[in-house]
Symmetry: C2
Subunit: 157 residues, 2 copies
DNA sequence: GGAATTTAATGGTATATGCCACTATATTTG
DNA sequence: CAAATATAGTGGCATATACCATTAAATTCC
């Protein structure tokens, strides 16, 4: 009986990921230090920078995030002048997301702190396992995975 | 330049975990199906059941969650009569968390759906990798990890 | 070309989660 | 034992994230 419960809680991939997510949210968040930017916000700025003026839709996909959730998350950053939206030239439904000079500066500023957090993470888990973990998680987060997961249910559920 | 950004975003363990967390939140959430319970809530009920009347503090630690965050998360469940709080006998500061009969019933009801989700997950990732992933994530979520991470920073940061 | 359908974004509502300040108890200390 | 300190919870506020309904613009189909 107890064993059954135990097996559920230790074997739930979703809650395992969530717990780790909260832990790392803390650890990496602390690394951001003094600045008033959250870890999630740094990630978002970095992703925007990397994609170079993506539409909200594109950005949401890259973040594996709901479009409306992304919109909400962007608001504080827009309010604080780190990010701005501009209508797309071709498709007037779409809006492009880009960093303001301020936003770019802040992102750049924090890269060092991020690196330190990542260095520690790798030190604790080991570079090998660390890289392996990210590979696995990237797959889990992929559309390919979602498709395969859906296909795996075509029988019973 | 672009390569630098790329390396940040692909190598950030924190954002990797978060992305996977969002994906699995979706997938496992869908599995809960018709019921109005979220995946996170099922996890919480399961954890409460497993720990058998933990204090909020104990539950928060098990969930790797902030105490006040836990308190907030419990509110809808208490409101809906699935969970209740009772003051601890010995320590009047503490409150014990327990499932109501209704809560126990709902948790039990959903175990099958959870299993199906987990079955699919294992099918896609492979039982081996799946178990390995959970082991790694459990370590990352542990206090031991947090301590080691802190220790790894005693030099530079 | 105009109606039906699809797509991008927005706003509302609800849960998820964290930090801080504050209260009520307990525990430790002088 | 009383004062100082530590611990468990609570409530407020802010961000994170999802779903739904709605709007506006594009695309598809007679």
């Amino acid at each position: 009986m107890e064993k059954i419960e135990n097996s559920i809680w230790m074997n739930c991939s979703s809650s395992s990921v969530r717990r780790a997510s909260r832990q790392l949210g803390q650890l990496y968040g602390d690394a951001m230090g003094l600045t008033d930017l959250r870890g999630t916000q740094f990630t978002l700025l970095t992703q925007i920078r990397y994609l170079d003026e993506p539409t909200q839709k594109m950005l949401a996909q890259a973040m594996v995030m709901d479009l409306s959730a992304l919109g909400h998350t962007l608001k504080p950053l827009i309010r604080d002048g780190l990010v701005e939206l501009a209508p797309d030239e071709k498709d007037r439904r779409a809006k492009r997301v880009r960093l303001t000079p301020e936003g770019l500066a802040r992102q750049t500023e924090l890269v060092g702190q991020w690196q330190e957090a990542q260095r520690r993470f790798d030190a604790v888990l080991g570079a090998e396992k660390s890289a392996e973990l990210r590979r696995t998680l990237a797959f889990v987060a992929s559309e390919e995975f979602a498709k395969a997961y859906a296909a795996a249910g075509k029988k019973g559920d």
